[in-house]
Subunit: 349 residues, 4 copies
């Protein structure tokens, strides 16, 4: 019963097969193969406009290079306090940008409070050298709290970005999970909302190692090519990432995987709702569930082989919780089975 | 007839199979899985001492992080002018170190001239702040000219490093090819020669994406963990690299692959020697052959579908070559077939 | 009536004279002159132990290089949210460290709340690569709110630093003002409280351009020399800074200047206390006064030629102030006259 | 008899007086004072066009920030192998740019060989990510060999810069010495030759600490303001630099100082020419003389209190010099006296 993270799963069989199918052929290196190009074209079709796409190895790399591509002296990026790039990437964005600051913005359930975002930006007037100046806004979709920004919420952030002439980045490590939760399209969830750069994640949703930076302004591609290469993120056998994405998109596998993961999360949440010992910290919206468990139950579950993390989020701590309880995070994936979820359900019944 | 680079090959079937075998299991992330640990242990056995090992995505990353791990203010690293990290990595080492300089040292056939190396180091007295100070020596084995440093040559460089108290890095993107060429052991080719940090490459020799930084002083592991994570090189599904290495080492596949590649290069060189139209620029020692071709022949070969690069190395240019001729690079790999080589032989006969 | 900042003043006549006295002589460059050495020795006497001292050009440089000297991958420094290096240096510390993060800690009146500091540090466990790891604590003395940490308060922070094995930096841009306010000694206000590195400011207190980084562990001097030189902060005519410090320390001019500035602030505060139209936001402790003024009065004062800044500090905003009032900052210096202060007093009477 | 460097001199009395005159006044900080503005305007008049000017503390800072202002991912700057920023600044330019490389170009007497420069640029095709790409050319005027580029030579470099669309920087640490040597105007020696950015030095020619970055495209000023501030080079009492420049330019003091220094160098060279024991390594063109001395004479001179440096330049070493001789550097300044030079002449007669 593995609910620790969606990155504890392996790879979808179709992704593994797609990769194996590439093993025996030769192809030109560093992203110039036919397969690389085909997959880039596929992105343009998916997003309903010409995009520039760069394959990278990790979500951290995607985020850090996205910010690096809009880097400027004194730059400040605005992100939610729980955003992965603020909380879990060891300062990679600050490092790759050579010191551009992440300004953390508060807000419940993993979403920046729009008024708080505007106030934060206002503290960095564009011409006032002493403070630094705005460089980017980064929004996480699906959020680190397992919630999903509505299109209206994204519009609000996009509007703030445009009004302040700040590029808008989306960390889409769990892009597909949000997309199917909203039942919308990639274009509607990104550039139509004002997103300029997207970290498009495949790793958590059925790939082994497939992340991409998507630039909605393809004219910035040439510059980004140097950003990527200098950062050691141009893979010689780039097509091994392309092959994963090819399988990922074929027959909408990516959407199917995400729907499955979300359904498993909903099923797990149902078990929590029905439990007399546990309850939901908040409603799940994609593939992450945050139950409140008595510490006793948490220990029992771990002893029984259920893998999950305690997750003392600020949202939770601010409620001054009962010290005998703990907030936990359960993540489902394409590889989670209903049986596994139901066995967990029995343990907390 | 693909001789453009060993990174144009796909993956060895055993590597692909090893990867696929991991697809259906769950495992903890970020390098903490059992498989990750087993492969790290395997490195210690291979190198006959406890080593710290970090998996990264590209050879450029391995080199850049190796230098970053010994970085210091005003640092200068000494490398051959043709070294991959000086010539082909878009300044990644300078970028990751925040500006530590690469001082290029001359020398024929891809090898730093030892006296030139000593003279270069002497221009940076350790206490003279104006110039900067020595930080690392980096030696490439197999060199970018397809030659292999003898153990004595490595000893000489190791001795210079020790005398100057400078860490010694080895770029082993083609480590296996050199190893089998010298018929020596990993330990004898590295730390017994004074190497402190190794970029250990698997990608060019049968993997898709498997590179490792090997620290011969395992006490530096904790520090390196932050160097790696901050640089976006800690893969969540790290075991997909570990699985490649596991297959790579099993039954000495890696040595077999390298022997095959070297044998194919020798076979190709034989064809060149026998040709009336071509000749060898110099003797190949591993899996790269540098023939001198009439430009006319070069064009014919390309038209006939032979993939290779013109390679106007300094060694070649310094000889003031005949302008009707061109130096070319042909690289063989685990996937090169004797038939392919022989067909090329017929074309130049 | 200039109360905008202590850096609007010129130079004390003795400092100007000391500088002029150096004009006609020759001397070796880059910090190696006799005068440089004498002033360094003077610092050791002042601080009652051997210290290493490096002259730099700006307070921002002093702070940024101090943090750079303890920089490490994934490093996080803990500073008050209003600290000059967090709020007013355009990200210089992040830039010079190549991306080490500043974690802002809250607390009233310019002082980090000790419990909040401990909680912030606890979010960065030393071995957890994902978050980053503690690198430095920086405390500002005099604070940006014009308050002064008591020796006990400094002890508390020093104790937290030691318990967590984190170097402690003090931003002493207004060091002298705090020192005379506490009627203590340089040693008692620094290394005896656990301070490892000090930004020692002279510019705001009577010099033109005289800042120094003081390392209480002189063994770190050699390393710092490269930190300084690489950062373009080794002045060829370094002695022009030394000459300022020589005059600054002679006959305790620096203490006299600070006492005068503090006395002028107290006098100004008295005028505010007596005014029917203004009141003190909080009690001044050194050379900065923060009155609450009706906006109407603020406008009148500016029209009358009084120079000062509106200063909407978080402390003030959190109190949800009357929108017709504004918090303002008045700074006095060695050059402020009692007459000037009294003329201001008449304006607000 | 101090000929070690022009930065061993103090300050011209007029500069010291100008500084002292500023001591007793108040003025707004961070470059916004009337005096700052007046001096900036003076630069525009001097250069016969509107320029943006930023005062910085050291020549190293001027050079490093100039390159930083044209920085880009994978950037490579082309400089003479002896250029101060390549040889004597501890890697500051690489550091401030976050790793942009300096590519050293050879050429006799401190001047890049134009064909060599073109060849070096050609190794970095603008779209080839593996090598990096051209970012700047930096030319030193007066060179580190004491020679002066003619206007034609500058035109040739400017032409290469324009043809390759690369910004051209001039390191003018000894700008005035070259200017009076050529008997030309600031405009003719800079932007009319294609120079885009100038490091304008005053320190070596009579100031204590007065360096400026001059941007010939003033539209880049806003961006540069952040480059400067982030790099800790925005001085709070910026006017103390402005005051030096004001005195420096008044009544053409700067030209007079440079003419004097050059004349003293010519006088010193005459003594060398007349000496039976010494000879000139090459003809001096500004304020630096490079005599070849028997080592015995060099020792005698040092014992007699003559300060100068041995200067084993590549130009000299390449000639395989007599091991009993040494090349030395003698630098004159505004403060050098004819008497001092003549006393030296007697010692070598």
């Amino acid at each position: 019963m593995i609910f620790a993270s969606d990155n504890w799963a392996g790879a979808h069989p179709a992704v593994a097969a797609g990769l194996t199918a590439e093993a025996s052929s030769f192809s030109s290196a560093y992203g110039s193969s036919d397969l690389d190009r085909q997959v880039v074209d596929r992105f343009s079709i998916l997003f309903e406009r010409e995009v520039a796409v760069f394959f990278v190895g990790t979500g951290t790399a995607a985020n850090a290079l996205a910010l690096t591509s809009v880097n400027r002296p004194g730059g400040v990026s605005f992100v939610h306090r729980d955003a992965h790039l603020a909380a879990d990437e060891a300062g990679a964005s600050e490092y790759f940008t050579g010191g551009a600051r992440l300004c953390q913005v508060d807000g419940p359930m993993g979403k920046m409070d729009p008024a708080g975002l505007e106030a934060a930006i206002a503290r960095y007037p564009a011409q006032f050298v002493h403070a630094g100046r705005p460089m980017a806004i980064s929004v996480t979709q699906t959020t680190e709290s397992g919630t999903v920004h509505s299109l209206d919420e994204l519009d609000r952030i996009g509007s703030i970005a445009r009004q302040n002439a700040i590029p808008l980045h989306m960390d889409g490590a769990r892009f597909a999970n949000a997309l199917v939760a909203l039942e919308t399209t990639p274009a509607d969830m990104t550039w139509r909302r004002g997103v300029d750069i997207l970290s498009f994640g495949g790793t958590k949703n059925g790939c082994w190692c497939a992340e991409a930076v998507v630039l909605f302004d393809p004219e910035r591609a040439q510059e980004f090519a140097f950003v990527q290469k200098r950062a050691a993120q141009l893979f010689s056998k780039s097509r091994f990432i392309a092959a994963q994405f090819a399988a990922y998109f074929r027959d909408d596998l990516w959407l199917e995987n995400a729907r499955h993961a979300n359904a498993m999360a909903a099923r797990l949440a149902d078990h929590v709702r029905r439990s007399r010992r546990a309850r939901l910290g908040w409603e799940p919206e994609a593939n992450e569930v945050f139950p409140v468990l008595p510490k006793q139950l948490s220990s029992e579950l771990k002893a029984a082989g259920v893998a999950f993390y305690d997750w003392p989020s600020v949202d939770w701590i601010e409620k001054k919780p009962n010290p005998d309880e703990t907030l936990c995070r359960f993540v489902t994936s394409f590889a989670t089975t209903a049986d596994e979820v139901d066995r967990f359900g029995e343990l907390i019944a």
